[in-house]
């Protein structure tokens, strides 16, 4: 097996183990920590595909932003120090059944499919190209995203700020 394939499988395993652990773990802090592994592994796979900008963004947004907020929220919850059973799982068997079924279907399908191959550019200025694409071809989704983020921001503020006294 070539070295680069080995690297891929290593990170893929990291993603799978991290994600599975995050889903199964009973302890919220551990779940968040394992999610860190999963998200970091995804970033590594992006980097492996020479999409270094996407890899970096993935790290900044998911690892540095979202996951930190997760941890922060988890630590603000009650009785965090004995959180070992704060996340009890219910309906394990049906869930496992459905997941395994879906896994079977997807595994079968992805083995059967002749995937479309794209040439992976060897390094190069992906940042520049992405920036150009985002501000020309995809400027509309890009701008709509700002509305989306604004809506999310407003929603979060509305939900978390002190309530104004009723008139």
């Amino acid at each position: 097996m070539p070295l680069s394939d080995l690297v891929f499988y290593l990170f893929a395993a990291m993603v799978v183990v991290g994600a599975a652990g995050a889903a199964i773990s009973q302890n919220l802090v551990y779940a968040a920590f394992l999610l860190l592994a999963a998200l970091f592994g995804v970033a590594a796979i992006f980097a492996w595909l020479s999409a270094d900008y996407v890899a970096i963004t993935q790290t900044i947004v998911y690892v540095g932003g979202i996951l930190v907020l997760f941890l922060f929220a988890v630590m603000l919850t009650n009785r965090i120090t004995d959180a070992r059973h704060s996340n009890p799982a219910v309906g394990k068997r049906p869930a496992a059944l459905v997941s395994l079924g879906l896994f079977g279907v997807l595994a079968y399908v992805s083995i059967e499919t002749p995937w479309k191959h794209f040439d992976v550019p060897a390094g190069g200025e992906t940042t520049h190209l992405l920036g150009q694409a985002l501000l020309s071809t995809y400027v509309l989704p890009f701008e709509v995203l700002s509305v989306l983020l604004l809506a999310a921001l407003v929603g979060a503020v509305v939900m978390s700020r002190k309530e104004t006294p009723k008139p």
Binding site: V105, L106, Y108, V109, S110, E112, T113, P114, W115, K116, F118, T137, Y138, V139, L140, P141, V144, L145, V147, L148, L150, A151, A152, V154, G155, A156, V157, V158, M159, E163, T164, K166, P167
Partner: protein, 501 residues
């Protein structure tokens, strides 16, 4: 690209600008003023945007933001414009229904209307997107804004529960949708509807690939969540019950309309030719059929057993999704007139559902108390609030699909198109569902008019707001007009479907 080329998007732009204005108004207005003009500002925004669309209605199809290969990521055609009108009318009426209610619940009004306008802008992107990536961005803009809207009454346990359920289920659906997108991209190599259509047209080997089908299936699941179709409807009753009532109306109507209209575009443009049975698309029609049958039966059966009017309306809206799926099945078979029927149905559904929830919002305010949603609590309401009850009767009759209302013609157009496509069995199920529907819808009228008044009844607690009355009036007029002169709208719908090409 010059500014003129962006004019077809002006309505969405107007909504976003007014949303921002509302946020600023909220910040800078005097506290004692109570921001009483928020609703008016929002209504003004919708009115301006509607006027713009009305002027542009006959404009030629505009393709915006050309990407590689000269393919537009956004297509504002007659279809999109008709959808714009539907969505904005829903937004406008929802705004009118809200003020008294929102003020009573102590909300931040600017944010409320701002989020509402942002979500409508997102829906407009959804219905005009010609590429699934753009579509997804619109979908998320809509969803996030509506999640926040459902969570506005955060001191209320049920509202919080509703918001959480809706949010979690919505996020789950988004994950499915996104995974589907990834798989489709993996097989087709593009997310543009034109490329999808090329890939799926007769003769390509792609269609034999299971991966594409799994991807499309996951996308369909995402849609099914948004419209609360059968196995994915569980969130609907709780979310509808707990959310602030005007928001429930908006959620039931606008989100569903946006999802169905864009699904219609996806099927007509993206699945072009793939649905006919020769190319292996038969399984898709079967799937849509199964969705519509199960949704109709389950929705109606569960609506029968409900004791709360809001929950009953929630399940009945599940059933209505099923009726629309009948139309979609026909569209997938190549019966274009079903598309016009769906648009008509959605218009009628918008008016009558918003109206029904509006009356509930009105009664909640007047009667007070959170238990007011039970059927029993409405005993004798018909005599205490004659006007509101009469309107409720109208909306309920329309929801049941009885003439001379919009609901009747909506069902008629959809069912007759399905008959032309040869789906007799499906139509029979639909009619059966409607008959069940008549029973539980009439229960509302029975409760309103034919039960003894238990006591003198509580005194009205708040004065009705003029805006609410105005909103209900618009909804009622729409229901009646659609029921008496359905011609113009169905013509518009045909033109819209024709513009999809």
């Amino acid at each position: 690209m010059s500014v003129n080329e962006l004019l077809p998007l002006l309505p969405a732009g107007v909504l976003v600008v007014f949303g921002l204005l509302l946020l600023l108004y909220e910040v800078f207005s005097n506290q004692s003023e109570q921001r009483r003009y928020s609703a008016h500002l929002a209504v003004l925004g919708f009115a301006i945007a509607l006027t713009v669309v009305a002027f542009q209605l006959r404009d030629p199809t505009a393709s915006l933001f050309l990407g590689p290969g000269g393919l537009a990521s956004l297509v504002v055609d007659a279809f999109a414009r008709v959808a714009f009108i539907l969505l904005m009318v829903a937004g406008l009426v929802a705004c009118l229904l809200s003020p008294g209610y929102a003020k009573n619940a102590g909300h931040s009004l600017g944010e409320y209307y701002g989020l509402l306008m942002f979500s409508v802008a997102g829906m407009m992107i959804m219905v005009s997107a010609a590429d699934l990536a753009t579509f997804f961005v619109g979908l998320e803009t809509m969803s996030v804004a509506v999640y926040a809207l459902t969570a506005l009454r955060r001191r209320d346990v049920r509202s919080t529960e509703a918001a959480l359920k809706y949010f979690l289920m919505g996020a789950f659906a988004t994950a499915f949708f996104l995974f589907g997108l990834a798989l489709v991209f993996g097989t087709v190599g593009s997310l543009h509807l034109t490329h999808l259509a090329e890939a799926m047209s007769t003769g390509t080997t792609l269609l034999r690939e299971p991966l594409l089908h799994v991807g499309l299936l996951l996308i369909l699941v995402g849609f099914a969540f948004k419209v609360a179709a059968f196995p994915f409807h569980m969130w609907a009753p709780d979310a509808y019950e707990g959310a602030p009532t005007p928001v429930t109306g908006f959620m039931a109507v606008a989100v569903k309309t946006a999802a169905f209209v864009s699904l219609l575009r996806l099927i007509v443009v993206g699945f072009d030719g793939a649905m006919s049975s020769q190319t292996g698309g038969a399984s898709w029609t079967v799937l849509l059929e199964a969705l519509s049958i199960s949704t109709i039966l389950v929705g109606n059966a569960l609506a029968l057993t409900q004791r709360s009017i809001k929950r009953m309306l929630a399940y009945s809206s599940v059933a209505h999704s099923g009726y629309v799926f009948i139309g979609l099945t026909a569209v997938a078979e190549g019966e274009a007139s079903a598309g016009a029927g769906i648009l008509f149905y959605l218009a009628a559904y918008t008016a009558m559902t918003l109206g029904a929830f509006g009356v509930l919002a009105y009664l909640e305010r007047r009667e007070g108390g959170s238990e007011a949603e039970r059927f029993g609590a409405y005993a004798g309401i018909g005599f205490r609030h004659p006007a509101a009850s009469a309107l409720m009767a109208l909306f309920v009759v329309s929801l049941a699909g009885l003439p001379p209302t919009g609901g009747f013609f909506g069902k008629l157009f959809v069912f007759s198109a399905a008959l032309r496509a040869g789906h007799t069995g499906l139509v029979l199920i639909g009619v059966l569902g409607s008959v069940i529907g008549v029973y539980y819808y009439l229960r509302v009228i029975v409760a309103f008019y034919m039960r003894d008044v238990p006591e003198p009844g509580p005194t009205p607690s708040a004065t009705p707001s003029a805006e609410l009355g105005f909103g209900l009036l618009i909804a009622a007029i729409l229901v009646v007009v659609l029921g008496v002169v359905p011609g113009p709208l169905i013509e518009l719908g045909r033109a819209a479907i024709a513009s999809l090409g």
